[in-house]
Subunit: 119 residues, 2 copies
């Protein structure tokens, strides 16, 4: 009954219909969730080989190194994968704000009573 994808030692990502897995980046020191994005096979290979987070931009339809223009790269301290290998967890050290808005994290608003509150 054991599913080798869940129990085995092989990295065997379960790409979705668009050829992507979900990537989650957290701050390796504070633990804060910084951003969520997507990776195709090339982005995953580049992330693992360079030690800097790369993603696939669905809006621009191209590989995107996080921080390629801002300089705010994410250095990968550890990469982990989930049970069914469709989600990647990158524990990173960010070189600057992770969000394009300038916020340290993309998750700068909490939901309270159905509305959004900063901080």
């Amino acid at each position: 009954m054991a599913d080798p994808r869940e129990t085995g030692p092989a990295l065997d990502p379960k790409w979705d219909a668009q050829g992507l897995i979900t990537g989650v980046a957290t701050d390796a020191d504070s633990g804060a969730l910084l951003m969520v994005a997507h990776l195709n096979a090339e982005a995953l290979a580049l992330t693992l080989s360079t030690g800097e987070a790369h993603f696939w931009s669905r809006s621009r339809q191209r590989i995107w190194k996080k921080g390629e223009t801002s300089g705010h790269v994410l250095r990968v301290v550890e990469a982990r994968i989930d049970c069914d290998q469709d989600a990647l967890w990158l524990r990173v050290r960010p070189a600057g704000p992770a969000c394009h808005t300038g916020a340290p994290s993309c998750f700068y608003r909490r939901i309270e009573n159905g509305a959004l509150v900063a901080g």
Copy 2:
């Protein structure tokens, strides 16, 4: 230039072509990433109204309350949303192992030199 979805107070999720956003659950105490799943509008509404994490199962095509059979529910301490409102961060207190394999987190393997290592 300000995008109200990024700067405004309205919860206005950016559903993908399947009507889903990405959900990320972390342990509110340890900060560990527990699981990644997806939510449709009903799952989000149920999560916010009940304070327990609900998701949309893409494989079973139905609403799924995490822990509905195992009892390992995720009590939501805080819900946050990202800049473009296509990802939800749930800080939770888990009632048991978050992974269906029995592991505390679905991310029980790290990637080292292209292979998977437990722990």
